[in-house]
Symmetry: C2
Subunit: 661 residues, 2 copies
């Protein structure tokens, strides 16, 4: 059992099960580090954080008292380099602060005056002798000692410099530390900023440029035709072009249009039924092109300022080369057949799941090598399909391996399942996570969820908010038309530092297949070329462009913490703000963005918003000048302000440009 | 970094910083052990707890799923022996449960019927081959296999036994466990029951039998005269007789009556100013008697069924032998004087604090040896005065040392300070803690506090509730008279498994020294003999006797967890219940005690109580017959019931004797 320590340090955060897994951060992100520190009796304690960086350097952070009642000390660390950092909290007896407290009280009360002044000479003398101080600090302490010894002056005057701001500043930076007690070292994994903040745009490359020839036969789009879409995606300001699987598609039990069990000639099949004689997960579907075409696609994306994300769906069609080469990687049933996916009594005969327990090493190496093919081709992000149906030990090993060799590669977990699994996948290494955002339709639920994801979970799980996906069209989105598409795009893009849009969102594609919460004529089973020249008919192209511009201009929108939900008088109006304090912005000014959204797609809504001025660290009577990205207008808002939103104008995304008292 | 494990186990409780300190329990106490367990895909997981006992035995506990949404598994452990236990949670793949789920669904849907039945033969055959089963279990599985293979029967009939209760019961107790994943081992310190449940009675032995002779000179009571009081204390049903310090008292700067700086002849001084030429912490004050007298006192206490607690106040009067023998154990100031206690500008010149940093080893050994003197004399509990003014490393070492050699010895921490210190003292080894109960005067505050102390903190901090002490007389207790003394005794004795009464409570001694929250003519500074023949004038002797009888008859009152606060319609009426489920009581019946208390000492209060039937695990329309210890009456209560309390009858302490639906 670890001892409590001479100056106890307990409850250090952020930690996951005392360092079982690292907390996460990105370069430039403020990481609050807190600990409960206290000591016996009346003597004073002090604290600091020591960060051991992967480049061998050490960062020393003074850690002041934050809350006396809770004995909470805190410091903020802003990592500057990527890689695994370790940090520890150090607490110590502070002889200078102890003396300041006693001397200030006693000299004022004319008790033990000479003794107190003599003790001051002693403690500042220790600082001079024991600490490596810069020349200026030496001078400051020397003058304070001289004043303490100046018997011609009054006691108060003799004391003043030694307890004053200048000496305090020196000893805050270079403290005298007795009985230093150290917490364990805790890991903090620092990644590039895109691991936290990113705007994804998902599309099926085969739909881009697909067409029917004269006899009605569909001709697939290609990577080449799909790359023509990249300019439009980049123009809207997205960061990531995410492609659904691009591999050969099986024909055995291929699904037809609208997920039917029978196909018609020309049905392209689901790209999630991966594998055919032409190849498996490391191959490009011949109708899309070649590996060279893929590399060219990635190059074009880079030219447009986009990174490319691939879908990683670890399952095989019955025609996948692995099925014949490695039948031992699947589950063979007692009757000798290979088990297809099923959730009894439902059957998914076009899919063979891998059985990771049969040959964990063989499967692991095959998948690792397959990933390397795509990383070598320039892929820097993977959207992982259903990671919660594969063993977590597999992911933990794979993600650590890839992080070691390619720390820039980002994995997004698509685990729509119970919270324990979703959160643990984040803890063991996924950089980003799909979340429950898609199923939080009401103001109350969104308020709670925004608060939850930006709270303590923010140290390990980075949400990626999607209003829809190719798999998901929720009842509210089926019914709410363009206004709700606008509203939920606003919340996704501003409530979370990462969000994603599935192509066709611009056209308000909201018709479901009856009885299912996904689109009719789902692109998973057919080609869906779109006429991009008409894409802004609902104003959504403009809106997405505006949102991405606001995100690029405001660091607060690229951070997860610093979110506050504010009260409104209308049950359909949601208000929240994001804030980054001035010490962590380029300008040195607080960055505050206030988002107000209506969730009523049919009627105008109006009411009062009451800002939580404490949370914003604003005076109660501060007057804010805000610039609304949506309307382009400038408003003056106070603690309580009136808003009116309607289906034609569903939101304000208001950046604070001026604060007057 | 520890791997997540093939079947992940996270968030095991109760643990303190992942085993930095042990959780606490007493023999016979129910300890819920919980963990978050889940796995990939659709296959089933199972879990168990393994407890490694200090006697070398192992206890295996099945750990069923408690909450699907939270992936929470739980088991209850009831320790049978004292000492340091270790426990771990084991999670595994459950091939039997996986097969039951698939076979039940598919046979019902007539899919893969033969395959499913064959797989059942395989999985039950594995159980027969791989597990050490008792003969009866072998027969149960054998019959199920025979049924699966009975081709003459219908598929449903063939399946039924293999998925039925009997086979389930066998495999719950003796599971087939694949891919067993183990949590770390966590410590659980098990102590004797009194460490959790105890009723303390505090008194100043010198007051018992003290008298004034004819010229008005006070003659001190002695250990011999004080021992005459033990019978009365035992008759009220207390467990512990706690004596304020019994050591020689210094004369230098001795405090006079009512804490004055000057003494008058005959003033006995504060027993907390320890040490005089006659001896220090290991000596008996000559006016109280000798060490032999003390041993006789302990013997008499034992005869009466009482244990003896001593006050451990680690400070010295200027006349303490250590001051001359070991001046290095104190702080010497620059002017050569020894530092007295002070909280600038306040001075406490009659007290020299030890400086534990000057000679930690020497001081430690002296105190350890001094404690041994009292343990050898029969002391089994120590009430530690202001432990938060001494280093925690000192306590951690001392308490571990004593626990090793004398695990029966109990330490009560008197740390009226910030929560972090109070809680950490409990974590590092104190068995019991004074709490904020004394400063929680209102129904709302008490409801919150009762909920807090019986929640997660209950795994390390055991509260000891005191309505008053020799140091504390809160404003409400100054004003509330006998009714409030009654009410707060009820809450202390029933709200917490440990509580304490400071002598004189029977007489409603509630007059404060002006401007201070303690009694006038405080017994710390003078003799206060009392006429015990008149002690029940306010009915408080009877009440305390009744409360202690209720405690002895109801295990629920001797446990900390299982407390629920219930709603009442009157803001001055508090209702809470304590409950121990039947599986942990001797009778096998649930033990439920419902406490209803008025906090209004002046007026009658009436209103409705609404019981939280879910928390009590009762049907909504259950009818309870209760026996009220206070009135002696029997009532019939339902979910909602009416109460009327008044200054003459401030509480019900109602044990449920019968539950009808």
């Amino acid at each position: 059992m670890a001892s409590v320590g001479r100056i106890p340090v307990v409850g250090v955060e952020p930690t996951l099960e005392q360092g079982r897994w690292p907390a996460k951060a990105v370069v430039g992100e403020e990481v609050p580090i807190t600990a409960t520190i206290f000591r016996e009796g009346h003597d004073k304690e002090g604290a600091n954080v020591l960060v051991l960086r992967p480049d061998g350097k050490r960062d020393y952070l003074p850690m002041p008292l934050d809350n006396f009642g809770n004995s909470l000390y805190s410091a903020s660390y802003v990592p500057r380099v990527e890689g695994l950092h370790r940090f520890r909290v150090e607490a110590w007896s502070d002889p200078y602060a102890t003396w300041v407290h006693a001397a200030s009280a006693k000299v004022a009360a004319s008790v033990d005056v000479e003794l107190m002044l003599d003790e001051g000479v002693l403690v500042l003398g220790r600082a001079l002798n024991e600490l490596r101080l810069p020349r200026k600090a030496v001078a400051v302490l020397g003058e304070a000692i001289a004043a303490l010894q100046d018997e011609a002056a009054s006691p108060a005057a003799r004391l003043a410099p030694a307890v004053g701001d200048e000496v305090h500043a020196v000893l805050r930076r270079y403290p005298l530390r007795d009985w230093v007690s150290r917490s364990p070292e805790y890991p903090l994994m620092v990644q590039r900023e895109r691991a936290l903040a990113s705007a994804w745009y998902e599309f099926f490359p085969r739909s881009e440029g697909a067409y029917q020839d004269d006899d009605g036969t569909w001709i697939s789009g290609t990577l080449a035709t799909a790359s023509e879409r990249l300019k439009g995606i980049a123009a809207m300001g997205f960061d990531v072009a995410y492609l659904t699987p691009i591999h050969p598609i099986g024909t055995t039990f291929r699904k037809g249009r609208n997920n039917t069990l029978t196909t018609e000639p020309g049905d392209p099949g689901s790209p999630y039924a991966i594998g055919a004689p032409e190849g498996g997960h490391d191959a490009v579907h011949p109708e899309l092109g070649t590996m060279d075409d893929f590399v060219a696609f990635v190059d074009e994306a880079r030219t447009q300022g986009l990174e490319v994300a691939l879908d990683l769906a670890l399952q095989c069609s019955p025609d996948h080369p692995w099925v014949t080469e490695h039948p031992e990687w699947f589950t063979t049933r007692l009757d000798g057949t290979i088990a297809y996916a099923e959730n009894p009594p439902k059957k998914y005969q076009d899919i063979y799941p891998l059985n990771f327990d049969n040959d964990p090493e063989g499967i692991y190496i095959a998948i690792r090598d397959m990933l390397q093919v795509w990383i070598d081709a320039g892929v820097t992000l993977f959207r992982v399909d259903n990671p919660h149906t594969k063993p977590l030990v597999f992911w933990e090993r794979l993600l650590a391996d890839v992080a070691q060799r390619h720390p820039e590669v980002i994995f997004l977990s698509e685990a729509f399942t119970r919270p324990a699994m979703m959160h643990t996948l984040a803890k063991i290494g996924f950089h980003q996570s799909y979340t429950y955002f898609t199923w939080r339709p009401t103001v109350r639920e969104l308020a709670e969820y925004l608060t939850e994801v930006s709270g303590p979970a923010s140290y390990y799980m980075r949400p990626n908010f999607w209003p829809t996906t190719h798999d998901i069209l929720t009842p509210d989105m089926q019914a709410g038309g363009a206004p709700l598409f606008a509203a939920r795009a606003v919340i996704a893009a501003t409530g979370s530092p990462s969000y994603g849009i599935y192509t066709g969102y611009e056209f308000v594609e909201n018709v479901p297949r009856p009885g299912v919460e996904e689109q009719i004529d789902n692109e998973k089973y057919e080609y869906r070329p779109r006429d991009w020249s008409a894409a802004d008919e609902h104003g959504l192209v403009s809106l997405l462009t505006t949102l991405n511009r606001a995100r690029s201009e405001h660091i607060a929108l690229r951070r997860l913490r610093g979110l506050t939900v504010h009260q409104t008088t209308d049950e359909q109006i949601l208000c929240f703000s994001k804030r980054v304090p001035g010490e962590f912005t380029m300008s040195g000014e607080d960055d505050i963005v206030i988002v107000v959204v209506s969730l009523d797609p049919r009627f105008a809504r109006e009411g009062l918003v009451t800002l939580d001025m404490d949370a914003l660290e604003l005076d109660e009577d501060a007057v804010l000048t805000v610039k609304d990205y949506i309307s382009g207008s400038t408003y003056t808002w106070e603690r309580e302000f009136f808003v009116r939103l309607d289906p034609g104008r569903m939101a304000h995304v208001a950046a604070v440009t001026r604060i007057a008292e």
